[in-house]
């Protein structure tokens, strides 16, 4: 384990979809207890890279990931490692809220159940409540836990999905444009939530909103056409980027 406070260490990662290369030799360190934002024009490979971190690319036919990805110094990009265990440690929130067509309670309880995290139903109730509280949803749904998760509003659904991810107590939470389907008020709530969660989790968020990246992240990485162009503290990237391309993108000259 390295002495730095980085959670995830990525070295020379190439991703191919069939013959097409989507990421070219990406290397980056993602620190603990902070929010790292990935920005860049669409199609540049942000989601692809995010999916490398919990091996969701395995589920895509023809996708191939090469290189080294370590979490806490442990190699995860290894065919012999069961991605199921990894995904319990690295939770994911998708662009569109995707609660299960089950009750709110069952949505949150599903992860703890399949991973055997609760010994009793009391304990499970407790996990569900704590997760919903952390996701800032408890007040709104505590009296209708048996209602279907799909009956909630978009913003509530996205917080429910976050609660579902939190419930298995992950170390890293990946969020792929979590607010792109939400209105500004719901977006603000999620952003506030991300800020709170930062204390306990390593959060990686993909966003195409520069303002959002500036608001919630401490670190920012800029991708372009499969290359990681530049990364560093958010302030530096926004105020004093090294690369011309980064500058152009941030100034809104393309994207």
């Amino acid at each position: 384990m390295s002495e730095t406070n980085s959670k995830v260490e990525v070295r020379d990662v190439d991703v191919f979809y069939g013959d097409k290369q989507a990421l070219n030799s990406v290397s980056i360190d993602i620190p603990k207890n902070s929010v790292t934002a990935f920005i860049g024009p669409s199609g540049c490979g942000k989601s692809t890279f995010l999916r490398c971190l919990n091996r969701m690319n395995d589920t895509i036919e023809g996708a191939r990931v090469e290189g080294s990805i370590k979490i806490d110094g442990e190699e995860i990009n290894d065919k012999h490692l069961d991605p199921v265990i990894l995904r319990a440690r690295v939770g994911m929130v998708f662009q569109k809220p995707n609660p299960f067509p089950k009750s709110i309670y069952d949505n949150v309880a599903y992860g703890p159940r399949i991973h055997g995290l609760a010994q009793s139903s009391d304990e499970l109730d407790d996990i569900v409540e704590q997760s919903l509280r952390k996701a800032g949803l408890w007040e709104e749904v505590s009296d209708r836990l048996s209602h279907p998760g799909t009956s909630l509003s978009g913003g509530q659904q996205q917080r429910l999905v976050i609660a579902r991810a939190i419930a298995v107590n992950p170390e890293v939470i990946l969020m792929d444009e979590p607010c792109s389907a939400l209105d500004p008020i719901a977006t603000a709530r999620i952003e506030g939530l991300i800020d709170e969660l930062r204390e306990n989790y390593c959060i990686v968020i993909v966003t195409h909103s520069m303002q959002q990246a500036a608001r919630v992240s401490q670190q920012t990485a800029f991708f372009h056409l499969g290359d990681l162009v530049e990364h560093g503290p958010t302030e530096t990237i926004f105020t004093n980027p090294r690369e011309q391309k980064t500058q152009d993108y941030i100034m809104g000259r393309f994207g």
């Binding site: 969701m56 995904r87 994911m92 299960f100 067509p101 089950k102 992860g111």
Partner: protein, 579 residues
Amino acid sequence: MTESVSKPAIKAAVEARLAKRYRSEARFRSLGLAAIFSAVAILVILLGSIGMQSLPAYTANEIFLEVDLDRDLVDPQGDGSEVSLREGSYARVLQNAMREQFPEVRARRDLRQLFQLYTALNAPRLMDEVIEDPSLVGTRYRFRMPLSDDMDLYLKGELLDQSETRMNTALRAEEEGRSIALVSDNAGFATLLENQRAALRNEAVALGASADELDLRVQAAGDEDVSALVDRIANLRERQQGLLDWADAEDGVFRLDDTLPSVIVEMAGGAYKLDGVSVDGTRATGRAVVQPESQSADSWNLLVVDVPESRRRSSDNQLVWSRVLRDRGVIEEHTNRYLFGNADSREPELAGVRGALHGSILTILIALILSVPVGVFAAIYLEEFAPKNPVTDLIEVNINNLAAVPSIVFGMLGLAVFINVFGLPRSSPVLGGLVLSLMTLPTIIIATRAAMKAVPPSIRDAALGIGASQTQTVFHHVLPLAAPGILTGSIIGLSRALGETAPLLMIGMVAFIAETPSLDIEGMTQPATVLPVQVFLWYDGAERAFEPRAAAAIMVLLGLMISFNALAIYLRHKFERRW
């Protein structure tokens, strides 16, 4: 650009387009409605006609016969043992009871006709009842048996056209040598006479018209050989004259024979068959079919059966006996207990759908047990776990092809493989179920895969993203969401199998099977037939009475399918609520 077009012009253009759109929408809606209405109408007509056709099958005229279970006849060894009871002559018992009803019937030919009012298969039925309850021996017992199918239809008015006139005038019977004369002082037979004569004259006119036509051909023939035609014309003219002479009989009596409609007079509980009427309409001669209680009556029935006796299977005697038995209360019409209680029979009056219904239930049960799990798991494997390679591609293509294979091919497969190689019992529900499950399998696989594909990928991602394994994802999330689709697919496949005939013909389920297979494991290997095959067999049957029974079997089949689909809809709703 837009500046050059004024705002009102735009508005007008939009409105014009809008009106056009509304019109086309209205057109489309009415076309859709028309399509639905015609589909429903066709369905109603179809169901209605089958339903109407099946109506006579739901009731049966039954003979409630007082039989004398004479010890000497039914218990020849005299020890009341089952062996002895099996040797009894129950046919004689029935015959004796029928003779008791009509003591005046003595001639052999007449007796044979009398015993044809019921089928000989009733003797073993009576035997079974006696063996069931040996204490009946030596008593008089009211035995219940169905009237023969033709007479049943006749009494329901389905077999023959006839007219029945109630005459409220006096009539008396007088002995006149070997026959009987019926005397009606107010010329009660006048109308009858007129009608019969008119019918003869009409026939004569028809013959004359054919002769005239041939005459024209002879005139136009020129120098061809027309001698054959001339002979035919002469023959027609002769017959025409014969009919006219007959109709205009001046010698006092109009003769009725078996080429004319049968005329029957019913009076005082008895019945006479007429063979002549005096031209003044006051007298008729004939013979007594059933002796009346008295020689005169104040009112009587004149029955004219349009089809002459020589042109039908059932004799006038049989018609009269059936009617008289009904009047005596010996024959009653009840719900047809044989239709739902019996398996197939050579005699329509004893034939029922129960055997075929059980056969269908067993067969479809086996098809369900085999094809649904196998089909669903095959689909899950292909959809979720199978590697993409030429072998799985080939399998996939072939499953789709299999769904299009004509069903009779599966029957041939069943014959070649299941019977000849594996030696499964012929005609059995296991075999039928196996064949039908092969037929249903591709449908279920395709439906299941389609239903699984329709589950949004986001649900899959959600489950995988939280650390569920592939198997957990499938069983916890994909399958429950796909369940309604899988159910619908399976039901459609099995409904089709339920109505399938062709492949079952190949494996011997078309055999005549008079035993009802039991609804258990044992029944699955007993010979059986299924409802659609039963329908096919009955429509093919010679007796007319099979026709309404076949229609009734169709109704049962439809009922089975409807309950099947109702179950599917119920289950669908149950599953869908969890969405």
